[in-house]
Symmetry: C2
Subunit: 354 residues, 2 copies
């Protein structure tokens, strides 16, 4: 995408910070690249995006982001191949999901070309920040929040859309142990669970802390009414393999429609793996674990890619999953990352060259 | 509270902005007083609060408030009586509720004396900003948010607590028409509905906009599972009068435990009004409206005080409420505001002299 129709004004950083970064020891999302894209919404429309040095944002104390939670975000990655060519994975899907979130949170939708052209211009400028190391990538964080002011509980009249990037290593370190949650919930029927809205994450922290204190890494959310249906994990959709069938729950207004999830489903079909999209109940899971037919569980998401779950806890009992030689998780992870890093054919047309 | 144990550092504004304010035409929460209280949480503890001129806040683009919705707030008012004495209403309850919200959102609890002494010092300094006009007051907005940085979805390690104030007129103008919501929801069982968390408000804006397009001011939320139980309105708890009994729903993890609500319940008992705290179903409401036993409905909250509802809509039908001479709403509103503005005895010990 080089014939940029949009005029994106660029203010370059005076001295790059890149020399201060240890690319061999990257944590997740804690070091930020030189530049960011900023776009302001005022008087009913979006102003042209600008690229500026990564820098603090100044806001009035009554800006509605501080009070009424109008904030949404996306999570993407930029991948570099052997020849230093840069790729994104299904970026338009992130842009469209951002706008789905925006609508639900009464925020203005962003023109797709602002997102796509702004992002590609930013990546071209900061391309040296995209790690080459295996397992690392440039994590991309597009986000939008209410900058308009006032203590009246109503939508703001001004918003900021920003894209910042962070060279990052892997999201989880080590084996993932999850706890099936029966008391707390992530989302309501008719609520905002399907939006990538800030408040959905803050609400998960306390229950997750309680689970961490018990020795788990992550909570598996169930529906708030019966707590019988497995829904999703912190920032991942959940897959379960019972026998040789790969199962994931259907999306709904309580669940984020993950791009990794839907890609994994398509890859699995392409690999000849039997898939089912249907409700997974906790009882089914426990029963399968007891019978030995529960072969695998894994989380899927942009940050965590495909993260195999080693153990799930439910009502004071831990159920360990077997360690398989040729697991679906490792096959599917290899296929999706090979596409992302341009190491294999992409029959699906998902890879996007910057 | 004059023997301040805490040392609160004060930086005064050079030139007050008060002359620019038209105290006879105040809207709600859109003009801000000269100073604000700021308190920072770092390295595991709260630093001493400071009073500074009301000014912009500068934050890193990766501050977690922008991404993961760790934000909570309170809403209070300062009232001035005839002799220019200043009063708060049950302020410690706001402080405690802030800490209940903080816990649920995995944010640090604030020491009560920071809240109480910080607030009284701020009000003493900005006392000229407290309106004297009938129906006006100084709206007080204590809020806390995550200022710590990083794109990892986990609690921040730094927070800011701020109190800003805004001289304000009434929240609603004119008659209030509400719509009983059956599709969208405000909160989940096991969710964060009982916390005064930013995300709870953003999630209400879109359904409220849809209701406004149909000619209503406000949505009445029902439970997300059956949509049969009346829960609360935007920033108000709901009361219903059927026959001569005043009814309000029980609090739960889906509903904010409103200070106005519980005060109204006590005042009503003191007035000899029969009260019930129990589930109110939509069918009961519609039936009572049809039979003519539904006498009143009103919302109760700090911002809206007691706001009589003129009409409720349910499934394409509008039900008008009668206009009563000596309504419970007007009696209760008079009693509570007389206490707040120091115009009457306070047998409950709720008034707090600054
Ligand atoms: C709640 C939630 N579920 C699932 C996902 C996975 O979605 P995706 O694969 O699009 O990254 C994410 C992360 O983005 C998430 O935040
Ligand atoms: C969701 C919600 N319910 C009820 C209330 C009323 O609570 P209070 O009377 O303490 O102001 C408020 C406002 O504070 C609110 O935000």
């Amino acid at each position: 995408m080089n014939n940029t129709a949009l005029k994106i004004q660029v203010e370059k950083i005076k001295v790059s910070k890149i020399d201060q970064v240890d690319f061999d020891n990257l944590s997740f999302g804690s070091v930020f690249s030189d530049h960011m894209l900023v776009c302001d919404y005022k008087n009913g429309s979006w102003e042209a995006p600008k690229i500026v040095p990564y820098q603090p944002i100044s806001l009035d104390p009554s800006a509605k982001i501080f009070h009424y939670g109008q904030s949404i975000f996306e999570g993407m990655k930029a991948y570099k191949d052997e020849n230093d060519e840069i790729f994104l994975f299904r970026p338009l899907d992130n842009c469209r999901r951002l706008n789905i979130s925006a609508k639900r949170m009464a925020m203005p939708e962003l023109p797709e070309e602002f997102f796509m052209e702004g992002l590609t211009a930013l990546l071209e400028l900061d391309k040296d920040w995209i790690p080459r190391n295996a397992g690392s990538s440039l994590y991309i964080r597009p986000f939008m929040f209410a900058s308009g002011t006032g203590f009246h509980a109503s939508p703001a009249n001004q918003y900021k859309f920003i894209i910042a990037t962070a060279p990052s290593g892997s999201y989880f370190a080590g084996k993932v142990k999850v706890l099936i949650e029966e008391k707390y919930s992530r989302s309501a029927n008719g609520g905002v669970g399907y939006a990538k809205a800030g408040g959905n994450y803050a609400g998960q922290f306390y229950p997750t802390q309680l689970a961490v204190e018990k020795g788990y890494n992550q909570v598996i959310w169930t529906d708030d009414n019966t707590h019988e249906n497995i829904e999703e994990a912190g920032a991942m959709n959940i897959f379960v393999r019972i026998g040789d069938t790969l199962i994931t729950g259907p999306t709904s207004d309580r669940i984020l429609d993950g791009i990794t999830r839907k890609s994994i489903l398509e890859i699995a079909k392409d690999e000849g793996i039997a898939t089912e999209v249907r409700k997974i109940t906790v009882s089914e899971l426990v029963e399968a674990a007891k019978k030995g037919t529960l072969k695998e569980m894994f989380g899927a998401g942009t940050a965590a890619v495909v993260s195999p779950i080693a153990t799930f806890g439910y009502r004071d009992t831990d159920y360990d999953l077997p360690e398989l030689e040729n697991s679906y998780a490792s096959r599917l992870k290899k296929r999706i990352t090979d596409i992302q890093y341009n190491r294999a054919e992409d029959p699906f047309g998902w890879r996007f060259k910057v």
